[in-house]
Subunit: 311 residues, 2 copies
């Protein structure tokens, strides 16, 4: 098993490389992995810093690995620098999981754009699946668009929260509630237990306000204490129920197809834009045209036509 993981590690390093020659090799490798991929559940996990994501993943991942699941933990962090990922970097918080024979942990790839990081993570998912990992935990710290990105590459999206004092719903990023398949209130232990139960009711009420999901799944709110290892089993039970539901009604497969379509078109659209806007002449003229629009000398439409005529 350890040799496997070293091989996976080396393959991911190839994927993460920005060298042209490596990228070509990586592309071939991923293609060869494809027939063996896709047999997994991909779980996205988000939550603000301090919510206890690492402790949760340590506890949840170890529970699954102990039960015989092969768990790969990946991360999408658009703020990660060239030197390596900034989340999951601190593996000391995942002491048990990091040494578990059934687990594999990889920090966020670095990249100069979220699109680049996302592409590398998507390819790493395929690699891990082909290597036999059946449970993927994909963490994001939730900066900018990273939650939407992780949502678009996972089957199940879990929002980790803490019970605070008072209005729990304030400060939740726009759109997150709509994406969540479950909200898990972490650190529901000791004195925190009562506030956590109150928060659960509030979140349940709030979730009720959203229109039903296309998946047919009704998002749930659970409590857990990663520290006391309570509630962890129920979370896995819920995800298993989810999997059964969406595989029975075929939404699971439909969503993965949709995600592939999305990534295909997304890659093209990003590329078309970067090709246009990185043209030095257009870059310069864009600023001129923006200024002209601001001074009411031209309309946004006339300015756009002018810029397009330069391409």
């Amino acid at each position: 098993m350890e040799r496997d993981q070293a091989a996976v590690s080396r393959a991911i390093t190839l994927i993460e490389s920005n060298q042209h020659q490596h990228q070509e090799k990586a592309g071939l490798l991923v293609e060869k992995c494809l027939p063996f991929a896709n047999k997994s559940i991909r779980i996205g996990i988000t939550g603000v810093p301090g919510v206890g994501k690492s402790t949760f993943i340590e506890s949840f991942g170890t529970h699954l690995a102990d039960a015989g699941k092969r768990v790969a933990v990946l991360a999408v962090d658009p703020t990660s620098t060239v030197s390596g990922g900034s989340i999951l970097g601190d593996k000391t918080r995942m002491e048990t999981l990091v040494n578990h024979k059934n687990a594999f942990i990889r920090p966020s790839p670095s990249g100069d754009s979220l699109g680049g990081v996302a592409k590398k993570t998507r390819e790493t998912i395929i690699l891990c699946e082909a290597a036999g990992f059946d449970t993927l935990l994909i963490e994001t710290v939730g900066v900018g668009q990273s939650e939407t990105t992780v949502h678009s590459m996972t089957d199940f999206f879990l929002l980790l929260k803490l019970a605070g004092a008072g209005d729990e719903l304030q400060g939740i990023k726009r759109g997150i509630m709509e994406m969540a398949d479950a909200i898990v209130i972490n650190k529901a232990d000791g004195e925190n237990k009562k506030p956590a139960e109150k928060a659960r009711s509030e979140f349940r009420r709030a979730l009720h306000l959203y229109p039903p999901k296309e998946s047919g799944w009704s998002p749930n709110v659970l409590l857990c204490s990663a520290l006391d290892h309570t509630g962890i089993e129920d979370i896995w039970k819920m995800i298993t129920e989810f999997e059964t539901t969406v595989k029975e009604n075929k939404h699971f497969y439909h969503k993965r197809r949709q995600q592939n379509r999305f990534w295909l078109l997304q890659t093209i659209n990003e590329h078309l834009k970067s090709r246009f806007y990185n043209n030095p002449e257009i870059k310069k003229e864009l600023q001129n045209q923006m200024d002209a629009v601001e001074k009411n000398e031209t309309t946004p439409f006339a300015a756009a036509n002018y810029l397009l005529s330069m391409d």
Copy 2:
């Protein structure tokens, strides 16, 4: 005044024409109007069919026109056919307003895409402003992305609702609550008054769940009866307050600049995509590549690269 409006009408017809020669003339005309435009408040109005949009606009618009405002009513309806707009088409519901010397009503332009309809409406706004209209009501029926489109061309966004039985928040389209600067519960008359007041509390509570707006404005919920003409004045008072707030904190100007930027970039991006995807060879190969992705023969990224290499 009537001669003015006939001239505006003819100019809009030029904007709405799809003939190349007309479009060129229209572009020049809009450019000449620019220095005289922008001095207005642009109000977006949305709500599902049956909520009483026409009656509301008749009542609200007449109130403003009577008070000396010059009111232009436009519409964005992506479902409008070649023969003319499908909303605001029924001017019989706006009998008073349609004959008011201070008012001008124009149905949705037709177009083969929402982008096309939006462009024409944006240019019509400039034309109307240059012609001296100081209050623009831009209606949308809220199909697909049309609400986002109207939101991106207006200063104030008003969501019209009815009090129903029970859970008022169910069935509100995703994202609408976040866009609304005000929710107005229409038909709050007779037996409907009590349910409307209850709905008001529920909406207020729901709005409270959203993070504060960048504009510094806290969305409000008001009641009105377009039929009894009650509540109409308060709505205008609220919009005036809004205008004062966002002009004082400069958000008004900031948002209009942002909107211009958005439309400039949006036009370019749409054009880049349509140029690529309408290439017949790419169109054909896109389907092949999608099929290959579905069969796990290639990744979305490899497929995208292949298609881009054809361009």
